[in-house]
Symmetry: C2
Subunit: 158 residues, 2 copies
DNA sequence: ATGTATGCAAACCATTTGCAATGAC
DNA sequence: GTCATTGCAAATGGTTTGCATACAT
């Protein structure tokens, strides 16, 4: 009997999640998880669907949506609703590399940002009648490109 | 000539915003701003539209949407996209009373939370090539009601 | 006078739903 | 065998758009 502990793979985590919630472990669900595992940044339900198609793997959008919901539920994927209509997803890599988003109010571009001070202070906060599991921090502002654009436009007005 | 400074009213702020952006100061826009000023918590575009109707003031949903966008643009209103499909708005009261949201992942209920330590650390953060104007912090977790519900359900399973 | 804003209806489009067929258990 | 899941097509619903009319400038 092995006592060596290694972190569970995402496959194992998802498997266990499905098992313990009496949900079925279908090939589609694991095929989707696999493609999610290959993503590096943000992706939409639609782009994930296209990735599957390009791989020659047939799944319906319906299944992509429902599986993404499960993955969000079990914490393997994060879902964001920035300013566009479509939801944006991303892999929830280990909690160590939690990151936040800088969103330009002018062009909508999104950059990632890490800050352990912020992480620590928020994670250690306790709230009455509420058990924290995670948090999302979105910082709005103007990116340097748009700042320059703004300056140019102001000059023209004068 | 008066040198006494008082904070501008939201009406004045909006007026100035419209002026300087060469947008028209229509009665509808100010009528909507007035109703927004009477709200206390979260509201949707639809509920705001209904408030106007109940007041006997005729505006189209189109105008409500476009005016809300202007109000968000000039910082008088905040827009949130939590987990439902509809956007949620709220008045952006003075920056002093900035607040954040505790969102229950099970029932979706949203509570407000204030924390000056968190505010300070985030506000004072500087980012490369990005000028911060505001931020939104959403904390996810389980509310006490749902925690109790969870415990009951686990007992039943056994 | 000029052209933006309004309001209606129609379009949009990401997501959800209904339902028959499939397949995990 | 049972019943959740899949996949298609159709529905949903908040939001946006097109366009004629009204009105701020």
């Amino acid at each position: 009997m092995s006592v060596i502990k290694r972190p569970l793979t995402t496959h194992e985590l998802f498997d266990e999640f499905l098992r313990s919630n009496r949900k079925r472990r279908t090939v589609e669900r694991f095929a989707i998880l696999e493609r999610v595992g290959n993503t590096t940044g943000h992706f939409s339900a639609e782009s994930l669907f296209e990735i599957m198609q390009n791989d020659g793997y047939h799944v319906s959008p319906t299944t992509v949506y429902s599986t993404l919901e499960l993955l969000v539920e079990c914490g393997l994927v994060k879902r964001h609703r920035f300013n566009n209509k479509a939801s944006i997803y991303e892999r929830a890599s280990g909690s160590a590399s939690n990151h936040h988003h800088l969103i330009c109010s002018m062009c909508g571009k999104i950059k990632e940002m890490r800050d352990s001070d912020i992480d620590t202070i928020i994670k250690n906060k306790r709230f009455p009648a509420f058990t924290q599991t995670s948090f999302a921090l979105n910082i709005y502002g103007i990116c340097s490109t748009c700042t320059r654009k703004q300056r140019r436009e102001k000059k023209l007005k004068k």
